[in-house]
């Protein structure tokens, strides 16, 4: 260890350059993981906000977030009278793009029964939720609209009364919460150009899905079987909705991101292996010397491997620090949990050991007698 540190100090430039290069690679690996986790959190935000409710969607569809779905608003009334059902609410979802103060903003409008009892669990950052049947809107804080601001969506005047936290649609757009009546009106007058997102299929239909909450003590499986008898719909549990969402676009992104991360880790390993190996090759004379002086095998292994370990740990620490500064400014949400950091550390340690294998073998193969040769 002493030898390793003394040598790194003597080659500080190379040490720092390697650590920086590795740190950047590690930062990207961390960012990709964080973006994936952010995508999952975003994708599930609305599903999670609905708690344990059952989801009634258009028959054979995965909707309303994974794909288009439209159900007749009367379904809610029919569901409400099914035994074991406490309440059923039509959920309207509308992708919407508008101009505000020269900026083009995209939101996913979601309706709720704000005038009486909202069914989704909205998380407020500041201000409040809409409380009247008309004219109020709460937007995700990332949208960039200030509380108190007045906006107009399809001729409907709305006042921003609060900021939501974590209200992101699976498309990545910020969610805005409005009353059912307001969304009805906005939907009715929506320009044709906005119908490209899945949710805009709801344009022609009264609702994207119906959310059904269960009466206390009701058997979810039984209620679901009863609901499934309503023609034209498919019923999902919250867990099924989650996995449908994650199996779709999010899963594809996960596999792509995973592949990139594996590639980057391989690149990092190769880089570190190269640096460690060339540092070892450059000190063949010193290795022969300490072998002749009677160094144990473990002394040699620790000399070589601890350098790769030190560089890896320094790079990982730098990557975490860079991430803490930079990730909050990313356009997409980056979510990194403490567990991810520990797993990352573990991966980094494995990377350090793998990349020192070649160098260690080289060091052990240096003949001690080389130190005697003139």
């Amino acid at each position: 260890m002493r030898l390793a540190i003394a040598e790194l100090r003597a080659h500080l430039g190379r040490f720092v350059a390697t650590v920086l290069g590795l740190a950047l690679l590690f930062t990207v690996v961390l960012a990709m993981g964080g973006i994936h986790r952010g995508m999952v959190v975003d994708a599930l935000a609305l599903v999670d906000a609905a708690g344990d409710s059952l989801w009634l969607v258009e028959e054979g569809r995965h909707g309303p977030f994974a794909e288009a779905s439209r159900v007749d608003a009367t379904i809610a009334e029919r569901a409400r009278i099914v035994p074991g059902v406490r309440d059923a609410v039509a959920l309207r979802v509308l992708g919407y793009q508008f101009e505000h103060q020269g900026r083009s903003l995209r939101v996913t409008l979601v309706s709720d029964r704000f005038e009486s009892a909202p069914v989704l669990r909205w998380t407020l950052d500041r201000g409040r939720l809409p409380s009247r049947a008309r004219g109020e809107i709460a937007v995700d804080r990332t949208l960039g609209l200030a509380v108190g601001q007045e906006i107009t969506l399809n001729d409907q005047p709305l006042r921003v009364v609060g900021h939501l936290r974590g209200a992101i649609a699976s498309s990545g757009d910020a969610v805005a919460a409005v009353s059912e009546l307001d969304l009805d009106d906005i939907q009715r007058f929506a320009p044709a150009g906005d119908r490209d997102t899945p949710a805009t299929h709801a344009l022609a239909a009264p609702a994207a899905a119906v959310l059904v909450s269960l009466a206390p003590g009701a058997d979810p499986a039984l209620v679901r079987r009863r609901l499934a008898q309503i023609p034209g719909i498919t019923a999902y549990t919250a867990a099924e909705q989650r996995s449908l969402l994650l199996d779709g676009a999010v899963d594809k992104a996960r596999r792509q991101i995973g592949l990139f991360r594996v590639l980057l880790i391989l690149v990092s390993t190769a880089l570190l292996a190269l640096v460690t190996f060339s540092m070892t090759a450059a000190k063949t004379r010193e290795i022969a010397l300490v072998k002749l002086l009677g160094a144990r095998t473990r002394t040699l292994v620790s000399w070589v491997a601890s350098q790769s370990l030190l560089m890896t740990l320094a790079a990982y620490g730098a990557a975490v620090a860079i991430g803490a500064k930079v990730f909050p400014r990313f356009p997409r949400r980056v979510v990194i949990e403490p567990r991810d950091l520990w797993i990352g550390l573990l991966v980094a340690l494995v990377l350090a050991s793998v990349s020192s294998v070649a160098a260690v073998r080289r060091a052990l193969s240096v003949p001690a007698g080389e130190a005697l040769a003139a």
């Binding site: 003394a6 080659h11 300490v290 072998k291 005697l372």
Partner: protein
Amino acid sequence: MTRLQAIDLEKTYGSGALAVRALDHVSLSVDAGEVVGLLGPSGSGKSTLLSCLGLLDAAQHGEVLLDGAPIAKDGRFVSDPTEVRRRRIGFVFQRANLVPFLDVRENVLLPLRLEGLPSRAAREHADALLKRLDLWDRRSHSTSALSGGQRQRVALARALVTRPALVLADEPTAALDAARGREAILALKDIARDEGAGVLVVTHDTRILDAFDRLLVMEDGRLSAADPKDHAAPAH
């Protein structure tokens, strides 16, 4: 007291028609505090002998004893050769062979560190050697800032820091001028005598032969005692 004893060493490189007998029934002994010079033309087997005595290689036949106990016998090591080298043998090379990224004192401490954390007594011994070899003022200098003579004195301190039973030196004065070479050998002799180490020095350097207690000559793998007068440098 006999520090080193070699009995009837035989070492052959290669086989058949290409076989080279590098050591041919070589026997020798070095006593505590004794500094023995080993002369001989290039290719006569001096380095091979040092390798066998320093447990870098094993002679096919014969026995090497350190302080009366066998450490190698008939082509095999009797005890762990790295441990014997680390604890009981000091090495000095033609060039000082210092570790460039360690300072003077750390170079001297290196053999102790290979063993583990040096004891207080061991560190004090290292410091005493640095003072004795006139390196104390330079102890925290980089080795690249030293002269050739200073570098070789650092190498001597490193070889002696573990209080070895035996010091093996391979042409330690080859890179030094006559005065520095003599100084180095005399310093080595001085300390070896005080600490009771046996010293075997391979040398071509006829200018320093009178500094040795005894001379041996190697020729075609055979060892014989030599008279210093036969090898003395011609007077200028």
